[in-house]
């Protein structure tokens, strides 16, 4: 885990209010697993950092995707190549690698980015990977081609304006032996309830420190304990955490 001032290499719009940023990590970020994230500083008067999943990486670069829900991430939009941003990472546990051979990745909205790095890694390991990516509408769709390189991709839109209509759960590979899901809590709940197979879910929670020190991101577990999403997660076995 490092605190780094990094140079922006690229920052481009890839979907409705959705941007992909690649920065020069100078090989100083020892990313261990897909599913880890970085905690990104945005401009004042915003005070807290923004947790963003690592979508993909090379030895010297790091790429993440951000959607401008609020005013903080909007301050990232006007960063140009050469500008510097400050990030803390890599953070969190990331996705564990499966024994199973036939894997389905389920991503919803801003839960899609980490699926890219995950698909890459699973393919590298010779797994058979399918991916179901859900978006609100055609304008919101991104990473279809990127994922296609590593998985058999199905795009689903709520309003049916692109790809298949409806919910991601309706289009999951029936033969999959294990699932990996990242997206809004309602989607995670639906996925968990729909599929009896083993699975891992990556969670979102509002964060302060992102290193396990402030207890902002604490969730109850089914065994009566608790976990901090930032440090113990964001990835958990599907039956570990009580989803709010």
């Amino acid at each position: 885990m490092r605190l780094l001032d990094v140079e922006v290499i690229e920052n481009t719009r890839i979907a409705a209010s959705t941007y992909e940023m690649t920065v020069d990590s100078r090989g100083e970020l020892a990313i261990q697993k897909p599913g880890q994230f970085v905690h990104v500083l945005v401009d004042p008067p915003h005070y807290l950092r923004r947790p963003l999943s690592i979508a993909s990486w090379t030895k010297t670069t790091l790429t993440f995707v951000y959607k401008t829900f609020g005013s903080g991430t909007k301050t990232l939009v006007n960063k140009l190549p050469g500008d510097r941003i400050n990030l803390l990472g890599p953070l969190g546990n990331g996705f564990p690698m499966p024994e199973e051979e036939r894997i389905v990745l389920i991503g919803g909205g801003v839960g899609v980015p980490p699926m890219k790095g995950l698909a890459q890694e699973l393919t590298r390991r010779g797994k058979r990977v399918s991916a179901v990516l859900g978006f609100r509408s055609a304008d919101d769709v991104f990473y279809e081609e990127e994922l296609n390189a590593y998985a058999d991709v199905t795009i689903v839109t709520e309003d049916g304006s692109y790809g298949k209509p409806g919910l991601v759960t309706e289009w999951v590979d029936a033969g999959a032996e294990v699932f990996y899901a990242c997206g809004p809590n309602p989607m995670l709940k639906a996925v968990r309830d729909a599929f009896p197979i083993p699975g891992f879910i990556s969670m979102e929670e509002r964060m302060g420190c992102a290193i396990g020190a402030c207890f902002a991101c604490t969730m109850k577990t089914f065994d009566g304990g608790y976990v901090n999403v930032c440090k113990d997660g964001p990835v958990f076995p599907k039956d570990k955490v009580v989803l709010p």
Binding site: L3, Y47, R206, G208, A213, F215, A216, C217
Partner: protein
Amino acid sequence: MNLRNDLPGLKLKNPVMPASGCFSFGKEYASFYDLDKLGAVVLKAATGESRFGNDTPRVAETASGMLNAIGLQNPGVDAIIENELPFLEDFQTPKIANIAGSTVEEYEEVAEKISPHVSAIELNISCPNVKEGGIQFGTDPDLAREVVKAVKHKSRVPVYVKLSPNTSDIKGMAVACEKAGADGLSMINTLTGMQILKDKRKPLLANKTGGLSGPAIKPVAIRMIYEVYPHVSIPIIGMGGIESAEDVLEFLLAGAQAIAVGTANFRNPFVMPEIIENLPHVLESYGFSSVEQAIGGAHDETNASPLYSS
């Protein structure tokens, strides 16, 4: 440059320590730097039994600050002594235990159990008193006096009372606590605030209200410390929006003898060692040759404490 400064129970090599609740029990930040660089380590609040705290969301961002409603989550005083304190034994820097409770009895129990293991206690009186219909100990001078007296009686180490800024008479609270036997004061805790989600039409925090911290509250902290300083003879540990060595000097001049950094750790996990490194240069550039020299420096000679005149 002399950064040393002795407070009751605390021989500080420098005046910089974490604010309770922003540093857990130290482990996480120990992976960034040696905790012995710090003047002291202040632990997360301890209660009699383990508490899960509030539901999430527990934090919200505000202009130049944040709201938090963690809800005093902690494993309980016994588990803290058993599982958390051993890790800190490897460090020489003084440890301060922050204690909380819903009854005077709970405060007493926690103080009695944890005081043998730490250098000082920070008494967090910004908690609702369940027996008194939930009014905060920290907003009623009589309740404050009662809990301070009780904890002083049980504690083997000096007791610093952490004052709530949600009061119209901070001076009265401070004087009441000193009279009740407090060895020092910590100022300030968070201001109670709220943020509302316009789409959901409800407060963002599951707990509805939360504590406002960060640079936004610094002017209130400085004012309260400046207001209290001439009226007490016990030392003040100042906090509220500190981000830099310049901020530290502003708190010292207002009357703080040491300072704590909270929210700024979330922006920059190295902020405390960086402040400690810059402090000598900043003090020097403003004409001071020690931390002690700066304490209370913004007060007229007339109402300055011996510390300053000396």
